[in-house]
């Protein structure tokens, strides 16, 4: 099971944080800080698996991360997940974001956090991997966006222009 998915930049500012187990707000921030601390110390050519985060579970949990340009994508998983499988999943996630946002960069993630959450919801649900086919995911996300846009058009009221 995936316990948490975090995206933060090279300075530790969170760009997306999704927890599949409940923690208080303070604990969540502490987890983000600690994860950033652990991951930023790593060299460029070491393996993508980390152990030793104290806050998320104990010895059973691992951090699987990938570093793309200015962003770290970190998945905290327990021992029931295949490490290489999750590494692939991160790749699929990033490629999907790239397709949805046209050459995605950090600014896209900053200004459209809710859209990123929607895409992620199509891939991972309740801590379990739902869909890994990029085209499927994009089809669904497009259909949902279309539905949202059509509503706004129909229900557009003068107050929207404020």
């Amino acid at each position: 099971m995936i316990k948490a998915i975090l995206i933060f930049n090279n300075h530790g500012k969170p760009r997306l944080s999704k927890f599949y187990e409940h923690y208080t707000e303070d604990t969540e921030q502490q987890i983000i800080r600690e994860t950033f601390h652990l991951v930023s110390k790593r060299d460029e050519n070491v393996c993508n698996f980390l152990e030793g985060g104290m806050l998320i579970g104990g010895s059973d949990n691992k951090l699987i991360y990938r570093h793309y340009a200015t962003l770290y994508f970190v998945f905290c998983v327990d021992s029931s997940e295949s490490e290489l499988g999750i590494l692939d999943l991160i790749q699929v996630f990033v490629e999907t974001l790239d397709k949805c946002f046209e050459n995605v960069c950090e600014l896209d993630l900053i200004f459209h956090v809710d859209k990123v959450h929607n895409i992620l919801a199509e891939m991972v649900m309740g801590g379990m991997v739902l869909e890994t086919n990029m085209n499927e995911i994009i089809t669904q996300v497009d259909a949902q966006n279309k539905m949202e846009k059509s509503e706004t058009f129909i229900f557009q009221s003068p107050r929207q222009d404020r």
């Binding site: 969540e28 029931s80 590494l87 692939d88 956090v113 991997v129």
Partner: protein, 603 residues
């Protein structure tokens, strides 16, 4: 800034803040405006406000006042508002909040909504944060959706069912007739429902492996690796302890193991899963050898990720297939020198498991080399592992003592507390090595007094066997010519240094006292040192000094007797080690009191 401004504008303003304080101010003003808007039940910019609140929540600011707004938005009829409302529910609500119960009804309605997207929102939220009560209420709905014809909804409903079963295991029977798609994703065991389906699974796997290129589910040339991995995992659960099922899978596993191309990560993932399955089920020995060989191949791979996971799986089988893993010992030991901390950690675990009587000398050399260069978080683990290995397989006592001393010199700060009494007991037992040990420890003491455990053992040893040190002859090692003044200087340095802990000082003082019976010329010097410490601030030390002073003054005739060789330790060796560690001088005190009584009786 107008309260109905959109999310992007607010983010721009927050990013424009130049200091943390400015950012906090901006966010507080925004939150106040959002709170006011929530109270007004203004329907215009509700979804924008909640989106802003969720952004602020991600940055770490409190957002609990948005919970009721989430409930309201979920109940709205607009898709955009539902969407943000459900997202808010997943981020802000959890089982412990009362508001979560309020959305149960909305979820129920949405599960029967005409649009599949609304249904999927409800399913997603339930799977993420559904409490036990919510799951119980909504389980029949999920069961209905599992039978739906829409595969998109079916998949989501299946994952939701897994979540429900995790929360309420008794409901598991409700979902089994539907499909084993559920089990592919869960860890719970449904053996008695599914053992008949092993042949079906084998068939599916065969199709996946042998079929050609399938563009839909292809990742880097391997057809649907995620499904393959899941099926292999299921086969593993089914085949464990089950001979019949294991037989049915043997051919398939051999085929997957030989045919899968491991040059890409996806292929390696499938191969890795196959190896784990072979290891877990009752497979024939040929298959097991194949699996260990695959892992050995992985170990030599350039990609560190592959090396890491191969060591993880070797760790799991090292107990059962010890000889097979021993063949790869050289590579594993090389991984100890890798730069990557994760690979080092795995290599350390595996090396410690591979130590045996045959390879103890060479392995220990490598492990000690590792200890001197390893990252600090691994040091105490490495040190205790080395101690265990040394205790079990030491070829000689001298080698054992040397090894422990080496560890104390390299990583003395990271060893456990029992090391000191253990080492003392070991030294006492090795009576022919007393001379050698005391010379070695004296040398270590005069070069460096930072490692406290080393200091303590050295002081004790010098106190006990000081006469051997001063005699200046030793067979095993070229002795230094040591005078009584040198020895007393060394012990006094320990007493006075601010690097020494109170325990080390206690050891040093006791050692000085013991030396008063082993040396001839400097008894006055010892007497003066002891009397100085009679007014020391540290209570323990003061107590000892006062008692020793008393020994000098009133009970001088007993001094030799009480400070003689510690045969006491051998008698009390079976007692708890702690008493040995903390109260050596108390034992002597007990000795004194016993003798006092004897003396008084005989008078």
């Amino acid at each position: 800034m107008s309260p109905s401004v959109c999310l992007q504008e607010m983010i721009r303003v927050i990013r424009g803040a130049r200091t943390q304080g400015e950012e906090r101010g901006v966010i507080q003003r925004e939150c106040a405006a959002i709170r006011a808007q929530f109270r007004q039940a203004d329907s215009g910019g509700r979804s924008h406000n909640l989106a802003k609140l969720l952004y602020v929540h991600m940055l770490g600011y409190p957002a609990h006042f948005g919970q009721m707004e989430c409930v309201r938005l979920i109940a709205s009829s607009k898709y955009s508002e539902k969407r943000i409302g459900y997202l808010g529910a997943m981020m802000l609500l959890d089982e412990k909040q009362d508001a979560s119960l309020l959305i149960t009804n909305s979820i129920k309605n949405d599960l029967s909504h005409s649009s599949q997207h609304v249904q999927s929102l409800a399913l997603c939220t339930l799977a993420c944060m559904g409490s036990a009560e919510m799951c119980r209420d909504l389980a029949p709905e999920i069961e209905r959706l599992l039978k739906a014809s829409n595969s998109y909804i079916k998949k989501k409903a299946a994952l939701c069912a897994v979540h429900i079963v995790r929360k309420i295991p008794e409901l598991g029977e409700m979902f089994t007739p539907s499909s084993f798609l559920i089990v592919l994703n869960s860890d719970t065991l449904y053996l008695h429902y599914l053992s008949h389906s092993v042949p079906e699974l084998v068939q599916i796997m065969k199709n996946l492996v042998t079929s050609g290129y399938s563009p839909e589910h292809n990742v880097a040339g391997i057809s649907d690796p995620f499904l393959q991995v899941r099926i292999l995992r299921l086969l593993r659960i089914l085949g464990r302890n089950n001979d019949a099922a294991s037989d049915a899978m043997n051919d398939l596993l051999a085929q997957v193991a030989t045919n899968t191309d491991s040059s890409k990560t996806a292929g390696s993932a499938v191969l890795y899963e196959t190896v784990l399955t072979i290891m877990d089920i009752r497979s024939e020995s040929g298959l097991r050898v194949l699996a260990v060989n695959i892992l050995g191949r992985f170990l030599l791979n350039n990609d560190r990720n592959i090396r890491y996971i191969s060591m993880t799986s070797l760790q799991k089988i090292v107990q059962t297939d010890h000889t097979a893993v021993q063949r790869h010992r050289g590579t594993i030991v090389d991984c100890l020198k890798d730069q990557d901390a994760s690979v080092k950690r795995r290599a350390l675990e595996l090396s410690l498991a591979l130590v045996s009587a045959a390879n103890i000398r060479s392995m220990m050399k490598e492990l000690l080399l590792f200890l001197s260069t390893c990252p600090p978080e691994l040091r105490s683990h490495a040190a205790s592992g080395i101690f265990n290995a040394a205790e079990r397989y030491a070829p000689s006592q001298r080698w054992h003592i040397d090894t422990i001393l080496h560890v104390l010199v390299t990583a003395g700060g990271d060893v456990r507390d029992e090391t000191v009494p253990n080492l003392i007991q070991l030294i006492t037992a090795a009576s022919e090595l007393h001379c050698y040990t005391v010379h070695k420890l004296y040398r270590a003491l005069i070069s460096d007094i930072v490692q406290q455990s080393l200091v303590q053992v050295a002081c004790w040893c010098i106190g006990e066997y000081g006469d051997l040190l001063l005699k200046g002859e030793c067979e095993e090692i070229t002795p230094m010519q040591v005078t009584e003044d040198d020895v007393l200087d060394a012990l006094e340095t320990v007493l006075q240094s601010h690097m020494s802990t109170p325990t080390s000082r206690g050891f040093a003082l006791t050692a000085i006292m013991k030396l008063s019976t082993r040396i001839t010329n400097n008894v006055d010097r010892i007497r003066s040192v002891v009397s100085i410490y009679g007014s020391c601030i540290d209570v323990e030390l003061q107590q000892r000094a006062v008692e020793y002073n008393a020994l000098f003054k009133k009970y001088d005739h007993m001094r030799y007797f009480t400070m003689s060789y510690c045969t006491v330790i051998l008698e009390f060796g079976c007692r708890s080690r702690l008493s040995l560690y903390f109260n050596i001088h108390d034992l002597l005190l007990m000795h004194i009191l016993d003798n006092l009584l004897l003396f008084s009786y005989s008078q």
